[in-house]
C-alpha cells in the first residue's frame, strides 16, 4: 500500500488520480495533507496540485459521466467523509474502464455509497436552505451563522444568491471558519475573525436593526399560534426539525 497525499483541493484530488495512473501506484490510499491516517508502513507519494493534469482527468470523466454524476464527485469531496477519496478513486477506475455509463449501477457498492453520501449532502443542503434565519443589522446586512454537518456552503450559494438578490447578506460557517458574503453584485468567500463578537449576545443586539426584535417576536407568535393543539405530535416535529438545528431557529429560541 502506498499513501498518496494531496492538498484537499478539488484539483489536487484529480491530480492525485492522474499521478496514480502515471506512476502506476499499486493499492493507493489517498489522504489529505495533515490527516491522521497517513500510514507508517508502505511508501508515501506527495501530490503537487497541477491544473493541467487535473484537467485531463476531468475532461476524460466528463466524457464518461453525465453532468450530474460529475457534480456528485464534487459533492462527495465536500462531505468530509473518511475514506471518500478512495471510494471515488475506485469509482473513477470503474467508470473509465466500463464500456457503458456506470453511474446508475446501484448493485455496485461504491456507486451506491456515493449515491448515499450525495443524498446526505442533499439533505444537509436542504436543511440549511430551510433553517437559516437571517438577522438584520442597523446598516441593512442580513446575517446568519451556521454549523452544518458537512461543508455545504458552496452548495447553497446559488440558492441564496438567486433568492436574496436585493439585500446584502452573510452566511458564516462557524465550524469551518469561513462565510459567503453577497454585496448586491456577487457572492464572495470571506473569512472574518468575529467569533468573539458572535458569542457576545448583548453586544450583538446593539448592532441589530431596531425592528429586528419585533419581527423575531412576531415570528415566534406566528409559529406558536399556527400550531393545532388537537394534532400535537412532538415525535414528528422532532423528526422534521432535529434538535441540533434548534439553535439556529428563531422560533425555537426564547424571546
Amino acid at each position: 500500500m502506498q499513501t498518496v497525499v494531496y492538498d484537499s483541493s478539488f484539483e489536487g484530488f484529480f491530480t492525485a488520480v492522474f499521478e496514480i495512473y502515471e506512476y502506476k501506484i499499486k493499492d493507493p490510499d489517498i489522504q489529505q495533507q495533515g490527516a491522521a491516517h497517513v500510514s507508517l508502513f508502505g511508501g508515501r507519494h506527495t501530490v503537487h496540485t497541477d491544473i493541467a493534469k487535473a484537467t485531463r482527468v476531468i475532461k476524460k470523466l466528463e466524457a464518461k459521466l453525465s453532468a450530474d454524476a460529475f457534480a456528485d464527485i464534487y459533492r462527495v469531496l465536500l462531505s468530509e467523509q473518511p475514506g471518500m477519496e478512495n471510494v471515488l478513486f475506485r469509482y473513477i477506475q470503474y467508470a473509465l474502464q466500463a464500456a457503458q455509463s456506470v453511474e446508475t449501477d446501484y448493485s455496485h457498492p461504491d456507486v451506491l455509497w456515493i449515491r448515499q453520501v450525495v443524498r446526505k449532502m442533499g439533505r444537509e443542503k436542504h436543511r440549511m436552505e430551510a433553517f437559516i434565519r437571517f438577522l438584520k443589522t442597523k446598516d441593512g446586512l442580513f446575517y446568519a451563522t451556521v454549523e452544518p454537518d458537512f461543508n455545504v456552503l458552496p452548495l447553497i450559494r446559488k440558492h441564496f444568491e438567486d433568492r436574496y438578490a436585493d439585500q446584502r447578506w452573510l452566511i458564516y460557517d462557524t465550524r469551518r471558519k469561513y462565510g459567503l458574503y453577497y454585496d448586491l453584485h456577487s457572492v464572495t468567500e470571506v473569512t472574518i475573525d468575529f467569533a468573539a463578537t458572535l458569542n457576545d449576545k448583548a453586544s450583538l443586539r446593539t448592532l441589530h436593526d431596531e425592528q429586528e426584535d419585533l419581527y423575531q417576536s412576531l415570528w415566534r407568535t406566528y409559529f406558536g399560534s399556527t400550531n393545532i393543539q388537537a394534532r400535537r405530535n412532538m415525535k414528528l416535529h422532532i423528526q422534521h426539525m432535529p434538535r441540533r438545528y434548534w439553535k439556529y431557529l428563531t422560533e425555537k429560541l426564547p424571546g
Binding site: 456506470v102 446508475t104 449501477d105 446501484y106 448493485s107 455496485h108 451506491l112 436542504h126 436552505e129 430551510a130 433553517f131 437559516i132 434565519r133 437571517f134 438577522l135 438584520k136 442580513f142 446568519a144 438567486d162 433568492r163 436574496y164 438578490a165 436585493d166 439585500q167 425592528q211 419585533l214 419581527y215 417576536s217 412576531l218 415570528w219 407568535t221 406566528y222 409559529f223 399560534s225 399556527t226 400550531n227 393545532i228 393543539q229 388537537a230 394534532r231 400535537r232 405530535n233 412532538m234 415525535k235 414528528l236 416535529h237 423528526q239 422534521h240 426539525m241 431557529l249 428563531t250 422560533e251
Partner: protein, 416 residues
Amino acid sequence: MSERISEKLTILSDAAKYDVSCASSGSDRKNENKGLGNASNGICHAYTEDGRCVSLLKILLTNFCIYDCAYCISRKSNDIKRAAFTVQEVVDLTMNFYRRNYIEGLFLSSGIFKNADYTMERLVLVAKKLRTEHQFNGYIHLKTIPGASDELMQEAALYADRLSVNVEMPTKESLRLLAPDKNRNDMLKPMRYIDKALTQNQEEKKLFKKAPTLAPAGQSTQMVIGATPETDLQILYMSHFFYQKIHLKRVYYSGYVPVSNDNRLPAMGTPVPFIRENRLYQADWLMRFYHFRVDEIVSPQEPLLDAQIDPKLSWALRNLQLFPVDINKADYMLIMRIPGIGLQSARKICEARKFSRLGMHHLQKIGIAVNRAKYFITTSDAPVLKDYQPMQIKEFILNEGSSKYKPNFSPQLKLF
C-alpha cells in the same frame, strides 16, 4: 403598535390554520428583476409541534364574516375575538418574514366582510402591492372568494401563484346542511372560470412568449373529512372530478377538528380522524403519481378505505392474480404498483437491472421495504413464496409491525 400587530397576528393566524394546504411548490417564478425571492420547490422552513410544514405565512386578512358556516371557527355566530389587518400590515409582515428566510411566501385568505367583491379586492391589492411595489417574487397563494367578479378573479390570477376555493363539504347535501348561506355553484363557478382562463393563458403563451403567466401553480381545494357522513368513495370521486374536469393541482383533506357544539357536527373533543385522512392522501397519491384509476381504489362494494393497511397494499391483495411480478423483467408501471416499492425505488430498480440481475440483497440496499414486497415479487435469488391467501399476507405484514398502526398520521408522513 407592536402589541396590536402581535395580537392581530395571533387571532388571524389562529383562524387560518385549519386550512391544511401549505404547499409552495409548482411555480417557477424567477427573480429576474433583481427583486426579492423566487418560487420553485417549496421549502418547509419550520414544522409546527403537530408536525406540519410551515412554508407560508398563512393568515386571514380578517376573521369578521357575514356567513355562518357551522364547521368554521370564524362563523358569524361564534363568540370570538375579531380582528382585521390593513393591506400594508400584511405586505410588511410578508416582506420582513421573507427577508429573514422564515417563509416561502404568503397564503392569504379571509372571512367575508360586506360582500365578496369588497373582500376579494383587498386580497388582490395585497398581492398587487407585493408584486409591483416591492418586486416580490416569492410564492403567493390567494383564496378566492366565492361570488367575486370575473375581473377580480382575472387580476388575482395575474399576481398569485396559486388560487383556491375550498369546497369544504364533499357533497351538495352536506353543504346545504352546514353552510346554508353558501351555494355550491358559487364555488364551482370561479374554479371553472379560472380553469378556462389558465388554459387560454397557456395557449397565449405559446403564441406570445411575453404574455404574463397566470397563476403558474394552478388551483387547489380542500375538503373537510369526518364532519359529515360521506364515504371515501364519494370523497375520492369528488377529487377525481376536480383533477380531471377542473385540472386542480391539489386536493387537500382536512380531518375535522371540532370547533363547535353544534349538534349537526361531531361533538367537541371527538378525536381528529388522522388515519382516515392519511389513507385519503395515500389514495390521492395513487391517483396522481402511480396512475391508479379511482375505481381501482374504491368501489361501491367497498366504499371505505381499509384503515389497517394502505390502499396500495389493499389493491394488491385484491388483485393477487397479477403477482408475483418479476423484478428483472416487469414494466416500470407495474413495478411501481408493488407494495413496498415507491416511485424512486421503482426507477432505481429499472436502472440497476440493466447492469446485473437483481436479487433480494440488491433490493434491500436500494432501500425497498423487502418485508412487504417479498410476497409480491420474484428476483434472481429468492425462492418464490408459496401461494398465500390475501388474508394471510395481510396478517403477516401487520404482525411484522412495519405497518403497525401508528396513531400519528399527517400529510407529511412518508406515504408508502
